[in-house]
Amino acid sequence: MKIKKIAAAMSGVVAVGLALASSPAVAAASAEALLRAKCLACHTETDAGFSRIADQRKSPEGWLMSIARMQIVHGLKITDEERRAVVKHLADTQGLAPSETEGSRYALERRLNTMEAFESEQFTQMCARCHSGARVLLQRRPASEWEHLVHFHLGQYPTAEFQAFGRDRDWLGIALKEVVPDLAGKLPLESEAWKAWQARAPQAVDGEWSLSGHMTGRGGFSGVMKVSAGKAQDLHALSFEGRWDDGKPMAGKGQALIYTGYEWRADLVVDGTPMRQVFALEDGVLRGRMFLRDHDEVGADVVASLQRDGNARVLAVHPAYLKAGDEGELRIVGSKLEGEVGLPQGVSLLETVRRSASEVVLRVRAEAAARGVHPVTVGAASGGSLAVYERIGELKVLPAYAVARIGGNGTPTAKVEARFDAEAWDAGPDGQPGTSDDFRIGVVPARWSVEPFDEVAVRDEDVKFAGLMDEASGVFVPGGAGPNPLRRMSANNVGNLKVVAEVQQGGTPVRGEGQLIVAPQRWNNPPIP
């Protein structure tokens, strides 16, 4: 029962929330008053601020998790609106500089298939065996605070020192004597990057953004996102109009709140489906991930640039490849796309279908001689490329290793799908895949299937029980949760599958393979994994 309550409470606070619009009066001054009213019961006010709180910097999601924990474990009573105000205030005044989140943004962007790899075996075993390493790397504390965190861990999770990679060593001793100084050195409270970031002028966001994205299992899309001032500081209204690469229109509306001067968090509804944007804003560019609010495994990589002087950029070419000898339509997406279109040698312009500052649509023909990957420019705007390929020599399944999770079937945890892209490569002039002259063509349509990964998967009939792969889209929907009496040992519908993509090249199949683990439910799913 307790676990259910915690899960419900966490899901209620996952939204790094935008209801500020309903209460513009709640601002920094009142956030400080709130901190005083809500936190002084346990935290002590000192010259530096409130004890513990003043000694930490973290992401908006990091602050949200801390406050949610105070609610769940320590009985803090705070309304959703008050919590949003406190999170905003703390993320703004004790956040992370953009450079301090580099390499860890996948956790904020809910890319739960990320396979982390850290140089330090100790860090991996001491910290990243229970939660993502990114959760640690997205925090800054002095040694005394890292020490508090170690004590909290063992106090809250007493079995931590009995688990694998805990029971084989003096876990507490190592944590206090080795890990604390290490973290305090690498992730200190004070940093030049944070000082410099705080001194920086606010960034402009209102205006028209040209946006390009790719959603695995669905395809590319592009369009224009209009952003205007909202009803509170750092709050912005947004509307999006665009289309998928297959021509289907796409439109959405919502609001974005900017934390720490660059952490863009938007809630929007796209064609009836609630979605969320987790972007970083830097110099007229937004970059990050847009995903379904209620199924965050379904998401798109997104980049957008603001239409303004001095911000001429090509974000992408849709599609980003063309077969040598073929004609095709290309859509160059970017900002300030003014002036002459620079196409690669051997790619000839047949017709300019239409053009604007955010999109140039062309019909072109690629000659055989143009084989390779070439930059595409429009006037001063650069950044895009076009691959002209002869044949698909190799097919890669992306992600190469993915996790889907069983769910549903009358249980409170939803199924988590796995989605795949088939990435085609040209083997280059030498015709040999895997050599240095190979080049990436791009994501191509493929025929998808799953096979048993190994002998155990054959014996346990994983293909039959673990779920269904959609042949056309590469979307895998896992089986229902719970023991399955039809399976060997009444196992859950878990599985170990080979994911197979296949394309035909002149009558010859080209095949790519990946691995999919169909795992049990993720019982604990906080904002930062």
Binding site: C42, H43, F152, G155, Q156, F162, D170, T411, M489, V494
Partner: protein, 381 residues
């Protein structure tokens, strides 16, 4: 740090762990109608706890539930110890936070000890408790954390001794320091206590003095990788063997290359009747077991249990037999003559197997849900 075989064992067991299922959702309240049913002298019983708050007593002869006591507070882990007079079940429950004594004839709670000894303390016992051989004292290791106003502070673990007649507000009568990471313990008839953790310690319960009886972390063998021990099932065996399984890997040569090392299963064993201790490998590690059990009939036989029920010849270091199971079971128990094996833990049924042929003989369905990590005991009243 030296490489251990944990990684390899984990990789091999990851799939197996995924298969382990829970049926806690199907938990129903226990029928209280039989709570005042007294146990019959001379009869053999198996007691085991399960969700939501049951302590079941199974009549071994008829392989049926004899009675079910309702336990107070929260469930977990439901580890039991039977008193020497076979009248009181001690159970660690309430999320590792409380030890209860339950009078089996009446289902009455006659003993209660909170692991936390102060209002601002949170203390847990990680399967670390038992009853003395004369039944007069109860031992536990507690891992305390002080909950301060704005921070936690982890305290030193303590070995505590209770008077088992202290009633419902039992406080320790003696307290000594204990090593971190202490787990299961068993008491010998001569009064010695054996405690597993970083090493297997021999504890003087009067002075708190601890001596290494068998090294675990300190067992530095150039031929083998350090041991890995995950063993939180304190089974009181009929022949009074205190048995703990470990995994290790034997190197091919002095290069100590884990890639070519042979993974092995072994046991640490203290014969509580004689004090004789031994540690040795008994077979190749081909699958993970949660519990192992030496046969009361033949000391050369050891059984293993998790996804299969297996039987090894210790001297030969050889797997003799393995049988597939209907689902995962955690904790292996035996009757007193060693003719039957009882598979418990997870789900809510006990599977009964013939100890010689490993033929399945039947199931006992328990009222309520998952036995989880709970450790039952077989005893003769």
């Amino acid at each position: 740090m030296k490489n251990t075989m944990i990684g390899g064992a984990l990789r091999r067991s990851a799939r197996a762990a995924a298969v382990a299922a829970c049926v806690a959702g199907s938990a129903m309240p226990a029928a209280a109608a039989n709570e005042s049913l007294a146990l019959q002298p001379g009869s053999e019983y198996l007691m085991v706890a399960n969700y939501p708050n049951n302590l079941n007593v199974v009549d071994v002869a008829t392989a049926s539930v004899y009675k079910t006591c309702t336990l107070p507070d929260a469930f977990g882990p439901g580890l039991t110890q039977i008193s020497p007079d076979r009248r009181t079940a001690y159970i660690l429950n309430n999320r590792f936070g409380t030890i209860y004594g339950i009078e089996l004839d009446s289902c009455k709670v006659t003993f209660r000890a909170e692991m936390s000894l102060a209002d601002n303390e949170r203390a847990k016992s990680i399967a670390s408790f038992t009853i003395s051989a004369d039944g007069k004292e109860l031992y536990a290791v507690q891992n305390p954390t002080t909950i301060n106003r704005d921070h936690y502070r982890v305290g030193e673990p303590r070995f505590v001794v209770y008077d088992s007649s202290a009633g419902l507000d039992a406080r320790p009568v003696r307290t000594f320091p204990a090593p971190r990471q202490s787990t299961i313990m068993q008491a010998a008839p001569d009064g010695t206590l054996y405690l597993a953790g970083q090493n297997l310690y021999e504890v003087d319960v009067k002075t708190g003095e601890m001596k290494v009886k068998l090294p675990i972390r300190d067992w530095n063998r150039s031929t083998h990788a350090p041991l890995d021990v995950l063993y939180i099932w304190p089974v009181q065996t009929p022949q009074r063997d205190f048995t703990i399984l470990y995994t290790t890997a034997e190197y091919q040569d002095d290069k100590q290359d884990m890639e070519t090392a042979e993974f092995q299963y072994g046991y640490l064993n203290v014969n509580l009747l004689t004090g004789e201790a031994e540690a040795r490998e008994f077979g190749p590690l081909t699958e993970i077991y949660f519990t192992g059990l030496r046969s009361p009939k033949d000391r050369n036989i050891i059984y293993g249990l998790l996804h299969r029920l297996t039987k090894y010849d210790i001297a030969e270091g050889k797997l003799l037999q393995a049988v597939e199971l209907e689902h995962t079971y955690y904790t292996l128990l035996t009757n007193h003559d060693g003719s039957r094996l009882y598979l418990t833990g997870t789900f809510n049924d006990i599977a009964i197997y013939d100890a010689d042929s490993l033929t399945k003989l039947g199931n006992v369905q328990l009222p309520g849900g998952d036995m989880s990590l709970g450790t039952g005991q077989v005893f003769v009243r």
